[in-house]
Point group: C2
Chain length 65, copies 2
């Protein structure tokens, strides 16, 4: 399975938002809906800072502009 | 390996942009840099329409607003 873990990066610290994320979809402006392989859903405000799929990582950060 | 294929969706048609994408990073406003597991790099203008990691798919679309 190729799900990823989603993190929020703030002040250089990583906070795990959700494990085993399958789906990521935009939810209006600068928000994202995450859906895990277990069907859990979460809305994240912020923007995507980067993704490393081979490392199973999706990083979000606060929108600053 | 958990890389994904990146597609651009336009008028309901899918065009394959890059196979075996590992890294996705924002590149300024509404552009994204894709890096494959082979080290190929490509800059895509548009926004993320959605990702299905278990299906190895990242979909981009034109920014319309």
């Amino acid at each position: 399975m190729c799900e990823a873990n989603a993190y929020f990066i703030k002040d250089g610290e990583e906070v795990l938002i959700m494990e085993s994320v399958d789906v990521v979809e935009p939810e209006g402006e600068e928000s994202w809906q995450l859906v895990s392989i277990f069907g859990d859903r979460k809305i994240i405000r912020g923007r995507i800072k980067g993704m490393n799929l081979v490392s199973h990582r999706i990083m979000f950060e606060e929108k600053t502009d």
